[in-house]
């Protein structure tokens, strides 16, 4: 395990300490165990709060998107492990300015249980919550069972769009509806080249041959849809686009935002080679790309690989996508 760290069990807390020191103007640490990050600029009276949370090891997801026009608070778990119920409840409390809180997180059973339980706890305190789970990974379940799909990089669009709606002082019903609409508009698929190592575990999350890749592998190493040998970038991306377009066909005139995301180790150079192919293919279909994102937006520490996300936009979503937001990792 070649990592720059101290005690593996202090990994998350030391990381959060550094994160908040480096971004004082954005983040403040709170919660009974210091595992909640809230906006440093404080609550906005009358704005619906948006809370997320999940395991560590996916920066900038989840915490990195706390900021204006995005999340209000985030609960942080150990690496690849849900935040504790108490921490989720603390995050909800911290985000509540009086008009309710949307819990917007990835569709993993541990997170679901803990958010549900936290929601029941804060309900007793009079805080209204709603829930939208991001489920964009087309490789994790067939279209007919979309609600079983995992949440991956589509989280970024869900945060952005719901966050922009909340910034308009919309009601909790409206913000929740937009979040769900964003989730419905997103499709992602990833490809993994190498595993990563959870510090407290010390061995790689999965094994994969020297020249093997796995399309559709999850961000914690969950099995994908096809394991094969490494092939040229364009062929890999073509296969990935096949899954995306089969799931959500795009037509001439459609407008989408595209996120080409590194899982960690895969460098920007390769992402741009990938984006080049995606942009050409979409241009060929007559699809207009709006505000493409290329970089590291949802990672698995040092895993090599990347994902492609489409977010299909109607006029409402496009307006929200282009609305201002400000966090260290996403600024519009």
């Amino acid at each position: 395990m070649k990592k720059i760290l101290n005690d593996p069990f202090a990994y998350v807390d030391e990381m959060l300490e550094g994160l908040c020191l480096a971004h004082r103007q954005y983040f403040k640490r709170t919660g009974s165990e210091g595992r909640v990050i809230v906006r440093a600029d404080g609550l906005i009276k009358g704005k619906v709060g948006i809370v997320s949370g999940g395991g560590s090891g996916h920066l900038p997801v989840f915490t990195g998107y706390v900021g204006k026009g995005l999340l209000d608070a985030c609960a942080i778990g150990d690496v690849f492990s849900s935040p504790a119920v108490n921490q989720v409840a603390d995050a909800i409390r911290a985000a509540h300015s009086g008009v309710g809180v949307l819990c917007l997180y990835g569709n993993y059973s541990g997170d679901k249980m803990n958010f549900d339980m936290a929601g029941e706890i804060v309900e007793m305190e009079g805080i209204q919550t709603t829930t939208v789970r991001v489920a964009d990974d087309v490789a994790s379940a067939p279209l007919g069972e979309r609600s079983k799909r995992r949440g991956v990089a589509g989280l970024v669009y869900a945060y952005k769009l719901a966050g922009a709606k909340a910034d308009q002082f919309a009601t909790i019903e409206q913000v929740t509806a937009i979040a769900q609409k964003a989730v419905d508009a997103c499709r992602s698929v990833g490809v993994a080249l190498t595993p990563c190592t959870v510090p407290a575990v010390g061995r790689p999350t999965f094994e994969i041959g020297e020249t093997e890749i796995e399309i559709g592998m999850g961000i914690h190493g969950e099995p994908g849809v096809s394991r094969g040998s490494l092939k040229p970038a364009d062929a890999i991306v073509e296969e990935m686009l096949g899954y995306l377009l089969a799931d959500m066909p795009l037509q001439s005139g459609d407008r989408v935002s595209v996120l080409v995301n590194s899982l960690g180790a895969t460098p920007l150079e390769e992402l741009y080679i990938v984006y080049r192919y995606v942009a050409r293919r979409l241009a060929g279909l007559g699809v207009e790309v709006v505000m493409p994102l290329v970089g590291r937006y949802a990672t698995s520490m040092e895993m090599a690989g990347m994902s492609v996300t489409f977010c299909r936009l109607d006029r409402e979503l496009e307006g929200l996508l282009k609305a201002p937001c400000d966090s260290p990792f996403l600024r519009v």
């Binding site: 778990g77 492990s81 849900s82 504790a84 119920v85 541990g110």
Partner: protein
């Protein structure tokens, strides 16, 4: 032995469970390492320690005592098992509201109540090879039993059989699910963890 389940009995049992869990941590970690992320032992030790801190102050009202235990577990970093146990305890707390004791014959019903809450929370079904299946076998085996020692023995035997039975089947929930057919032939760590909890009560009875 007490004539019914009271906070005193609960305290005594928890004390023994906490001790036992420290001893089983490595075993449960390695079981979980094979089909999950290897933290079940750590989770249960941490959970035990959180409960130990509550023990001196457990209220006599059994419902409130169960709720205190549930709340202690919600402070743990988010392990599935911790949340499930907390959910079960919370369900049991609700069902015993206002009671200072539960007759032994009702313990099975209480297990059923906990089971239902846990199933609702997790979305898992019986047959998925999780702690729920162990709990269900304990519930069925203890139905109507009056004697606490017989009750624990029956539960222990039933859980052992259940582990045996599910060994041949694949895991359908949690991290283990992603290993698919590879899980056949292996024991679910959560079921084994539940067995160890019952053993702690059985091996060393009394309050």
């Amino acid at each position: 032995m007490s004539a019914a389940l009271t906070t005193t009995v609960l305290s005594g049992a928890l004390r023994r469970i906490i001790e036992k869990l420290e001893a089983c941590a490595d075993e449960l970690n390695s079981l979980d390492a094979q089909l999950g992320d290897g933290d079940l032992g750590v989770t249960l030790v941490r959970g035990g320690r959180a409960l130990a801190a509550e023990l001196p102050n457990l209220p006599e009202d059994l419902a409130l005592a169960l709720q205190s235990c549930a709340q202690a577990l919600t402070k743990l970093s988010g392990s599935t098992y911790g949340t499930l146990l907390a959910t079960g305890l919370m369900g049991a707390a609700k069902a015993t509201k206002g009671h200072t004791e539960v007759p032994w014959t009702e313990v099975s019903v209480l297990l059923g109540t906990a089971l239902q809450a846990m199933a609702r929370r997790s979305g898992a079904q019986l047959g998925d090879k999780t702690i729920l299946d162990a709990l269900e076998s304990a519930r069925a085996a203890t139905l109507g039993l009056e004697d606490p020692a017989a009750l624990v023995t029956a539960a222990d035997r039933a859980v052992a059989e259940s582990i045996e039975r599910f060994r041949k089947r694949p895991s359908r929930q949690g991290r283990a699910r992603i290993f698919g057919e590879m899980t056949i032939g292996r024991d679910d760590p959560g079921m084994v963890g539940f067995k160890r909890i019952i053993e702690a009560i059985k091996q060393n009875p009394g309050p």
